[in-house]
């Protein structure tokens, strides 16, 4: 059986927030806060973050339609050089580039694409997430 390591999350009301780091090929690293969102298909980072890391949002890998609270938006999917969260590092990690409204008090979303890849188990009682190592 594989080791499942717990990571403590930050509670924001009844929401759970994880920290993540994303990096560029020039040595840039940006640490930010992501809302654990099992209702989000994709992990989402601000447009400014991915562009600062050198990703070209005008020539994305693809575009996706996102059903958001205010309607359907079309957003680019780009590969950040690396993504690190919950003790796991992913190279050339696809993320949706979209800037959330400022009132959310988080920088982006940690969506089901990465949570499923990590085989994450979320405990609301302890505010922890366990992932396969």
């Amino acid at each position: 059986m594989r080791l499942r390591k717990p990571y403590r999350l930050h509670r924001q009301g009844n929401l759970l927030v994880a920290r993540a780091a994303v990096g560029g090929i020039d040595g840039s690293v940006i640490v930010l806060r992501l809302l654990l969102d099992t209702g989000a298909s994709y992990t989402m980072l601000p447009v400014e973050v991915v562009e600062a890391l050198g990703c070209d949002t005008h020539h994305p890998l693809r575009r996706v339609r996102i059903v958001a609270a205010n309607g359907i938006i079309v957003a680019p999917v780009v590969a950040v050089p690396w993504f690190h969260s919950l003790g796991q590092r992913l190279e050339e990690c696809p993320v949706v580039a979209h800037t959330l409204p400022t009132g959310a008090y988080v920088d982006g979303l940690l969506g089901m694409d990465i949570l499923a890849r990590f085989q994450a188990t979320i405990s609301m009682s302890t505010g922890e997430v366990k992932v396969e190592q």
Binding site: Y7, R8, Q12, G13, L15, R19, A20, A21, G24, D26, G27, S28, V29, I30, V31, L32, R33, L35, D37, G39, A40, P46, E48, V49, E51, A52, A68, A69, T99, L100, T102, G103, A104, Y105, D107, L109
Partner: protein, 83 residues
């Protein structure tokens, strides 16, 4: 909204000191130390603003550095998020 670029770029201070110095603001920090959960323990404040978007724009001025985006205020208790 204005962004305030910090003049004392070489001043490394603790996250607690940053919270006390810039309460209720968005802060861009060139961190020198993180804990195992990637929380900033200490670093240099590059810019601070009441506007998150202003801090996001500052990311283009810090290429090649290791930075963190932090909000030093409290999240409103009546805030509900539906994304």
């Amino acid at each position: 909204m204005n962004v305030n670029k910090e003049a004392t770029m070489d001043q490394t201070i603790s996250m607690q000191a940053i919270r006390e110095r810039y309460p209720g603001e968005w802060v861009l920090i060139a961190y020198t130390e993180l804990d195992e959960e990637m929380r900033v323990l200490q670093g240099e404040v590059i810019a601070h603003s009441s506007s998150r978007d202003e801090i996001y724009r500052q990311l283009f001025t810090v290429k090649g550095r290791q930075v963190a985006i932090e909000y030093t205020g409290e999240v409103p208790e009546d805030l509900a998020v539906v994304l």
